[in-house]
């Protein structure tokens, strides 16, 4: 789960990481009220989960209430790379002397933590990695050991941060690491990490990705989860507890298992179609799950056909077949359905379905055949034979 900047900063603050005083605002009036409270000058910042906000005009300096009103009015509702701005973060402006970069993430090939620190912050770190790789000082951290202040102190010196900033930066990195680990982040990134003209180090931005697998030990995350889905289809699927991602095509996909679902998208693409979604119903393909899945796909107006691709391992295909039959009784589906059922008890499952098959519910023996049929149906609207 990606946090907005304002959420990330609130999270940082819980771990003692210094951030600028600020507050969130959903309206122009709220923005002015926050600014009046913290004092001028302030920065009005669009809250969207995408980089390049500044260039798009989503970050503006304001010296007084009128300027806050003007900028907040312009930025709210603005479209930044497909993300509409619904919320602002208003914070006290900083006099920046230097901009750094700091982050912690998992080094997957080596299965340890990777810290990255650079004195060249404020720009895309991917760009620095290409143009000046030596400016990024990487630190491998053993997850069973962690990061102590002595190591962080050496690290900031190696990265050649301003000497006046080093002690504060080292302390902050230990706090950021703490946030990364105890806070169960997949990514904790500050860009820029600033050193102000009055010699203070603090986080000017916050990019935090939370590991949703750790949700069970972070009840405090719940407040953030409702702002997650921007696609109405995804919001509906989430409500029903389905693992769904909306895409652009016209073939609705239901599969069991993430790998098979991904593979189903690929095969649909290979035979000339485009998937409308990714939907993994997991192991328990019973009537309730199948009904929920069909409801979500049925609500998508761009869907022209539905491809149900099930490989029964532990999930028995006869149970899946019963689930499909029951789901069709409960939901009125507007698109034709192509079934491919294989694996454990496939013969029994197909037998159960036989009497229910018609030109709106067809079965194909293999994944490829089913994909071809579903794509043909998406094109003709169900008349394919």
């Amino acid at each position: 789960m990606d946090l907005f900047e304002y959420q990330g900063k609130q999270y940082f603050a819980q771990f003692g990481i210094p951030v600028s005083p600020g507050g969130e605002a959903n309206t122009v009036d709220e923005a002015v009220a926050v600014a009046e409270k913290i004092g001028y000058p302030v920065v009005v910042k669009a809250q969207v989960r995408v980089g390049g906000r500044g260039k798009a005009g989503g970050i503006k300096l304001a010296d007084n209430a009128d300027e806050v009103r003007l900028h907040a009015g312009n930025i709210l509702g603005m479209d930044i790379k497909g993300h509409v701005v619904h919320r602002l973060w208003i914070e006290l402006s900083s006099d920046i002397a230097e901009e750094y970069y700091a982050s912690f993430t998992l080094d997957r090939p080596n299965k340890v933590y990777l810290g990255m620190l650079s004195k060249e912050g404020g720009v895309e770190i991917e760009e620095v990695a290409v143009t000046n790789p030596d400016a990024i000082i990487k630190l491998s951290i053993d997850p069973t050991v962690g990061l102590d202040l002595a190591t962080a102190t050496k690290w900031v010196a190696d990265a050649e941060l301003n000497e006046g900033a080093q002690a504060q930066a080292a302390a902050l990195l230990v706090q950021l690491f703490d946030c990364y680990v105890k806070g169960d982040c997949d990514l904790a990134e500050i860009n820029p990490l600033i050193y102000t003209t009055d010699h203070v180090v603090r986080a000017l931005d916050a990019k935090v990705t939370l590991d949703v697998n750790a949700e069970f030990r972070h009840p405090e995350w719940e407040a953030w989860s409702d702002t997650d889905a921007e696609d109405p289809r995804e919001a509906m699927a989430k409500e029903k507890g389905l693992n769904y991602i909306g895409l652009e095509g016209s073939v609705g996909i239901i599969a069991n298992g993430a790998g098979l679902a991904m593979s189903t998208l690929d095969v649909v693409n290979q035979v000339g179609g485009k998937a409308a979604n990714f939907l993994d119903i997991g192991g328990g393909a019973n009537a309730d799950v199948m009904t929920a899945a069909l409801e979500v796909i049925n609500a998508d107006p761009s869907v022209r056909s539905i491809f149900v691709n099930i490989f029964g391992g532990i999930t028995r295909v006869d149970e899946v077949a019963k689930g499909v039959i029951e789901a069709l009784r409960r939901v009125d589906i507007s698109s034709p359905i192509v079934l491919r059922l294989d694996g454990t008890n496939a013969i029994e499952g197909r037998a159960l379905l036989a009497e229910h098959l018609n030109d709106r519910l067809v079965a194909e023996p293999t994944m490829l055949d089913a994909a071809r049929r579903a794509v043909a149906m998406a094109t003709t609207g169900g008349d394919s034979k």
Partner: protein
């Protein structure tokens, strides 16, 4: 032969008395696996369909001589269960638990590496391992596998593992061992571990490798294949059409920046001499063709 497990492997199930543990543990036993015990601190002294339940892994090992463990416990308790098994001297641990926090996995992996270098962890979040006719630890349905070799399978995805088994079994091509390494960011056993074992196994004559988007495991495997594998490898990578930045079900299946795309993985594999297929069916067909060409 087979890799990691065989007909002599004695297995205990941690979480045998839970719903999933009972279901899969008994299924594995019924397949012919030597499931010699279960562990459940609160239900020690009882049994699950004839399988005795012990209070701790240590006790279960002492009583049964088990060398492998099947961990089927919920995410908050999974890492402790894995480490308990390692401490009790278990050499091979299969953990199917889905939803373990990445930091717990990272700590677990590095603790095993440092303190228990002789213990191999398979998973978490994996379907398990099956050596057809000999041993099945995990959730794979035994009847889709075919004994007798000559193909070794290694896969990052559960249902695609079944699909791969099915494609081969239907053509009468058997498997030595099929290993599901799981789709999490910190797998205990990776592609290279399995490729190395298959290369060393005299009965495995060819290998099928099923990858997916995210991370760089497939690229690393490609480099290994190029330098160390003499046996033919067929591969399929799922997620060619996956959009960047979206997790496709598995915590590990995410394309970040320019990294982890299916395209890059397929190119790396092709450059290493691997036969790359565009879908699981084609992968099966190509594998069958290679096996026939080898005269097996």
């Amino acid at each position: 032969m087979s890799i990691f497990v065989d007909e002599n492997t004695k297995v205990i199930v941690q979480g045998l008395t839970g719903g999933q543990g009972r279901f899969h543990g008994v299924r594995n036993r019924d397949y012919g696996t030597q499931v010699v015990g279960g562990v459940s601190p609160k239900k020690a002294g009882t049994d699950v369909e004839g399988i005795p339940v012990f209070a701790s892994v240590k006790e279960a090992v002492a009583e049964t001589g088990a060398t492998a463990s099947f961990v089927v416990v919920p995410p908050p308790a999974a890492v402790a269960a894995i480490l308990e098994a390692a401490e009790a001297g278990i050499e091979f641990i299969v953990c199917i638990t889905e939803g373990i926090p990445a930091h717990d996995e990272a700590r677990c992996f590095n603790t095993l590496k440092k303190d228990f270098p002789n213990t191999r962890l398979l998973g978490p979040n994996c379907p398990g391992i099956i050596s057809p006719g000999k041993c099945n630890i995990g959730i794979t349905s035994g009847d889709i596998a075919l004994a007798g070799g000559p193909v070794g399978i290694v896969s990052r995805s559960g249902t695609l593992t079944y699909q791969a088994l099915h494609e081969l079994s239907q053509q009468g091509v058997g498997q030595t061992t099929c290993v599901g390494i799981g789709g999490d960011p910190v797998p205990g056993t990776n592609f290279i571990d399995c490729l190395e074992a298959f290369e060393a196994d005299p009965d495995t004559k060819a290998v099928m490798m099923i990858g997916e988007i995210g991370g760089s495991e497939e690229e690393l495997a490609a480099a290994f294949i190029k330098d160390h594998m003499t046996k033919p490898v067929v591969s399929y990578v799922a997620g060619v059409t996956a959009p960047p930045g979206r997790k496709m079900g598995h915590a590990g299946a995410i394309i970040s920046g320019s990294q982890g795309t299916a395209q890059a993985k397929m190119e790396a594999l092709e450059a290493a001499g691997v036969t790359v297929a565009l879908n699981p069916t084609e992968a099966g067909e190509k594998m069958v063709a290679i096996v026939r060409e080898l005269g097996l």
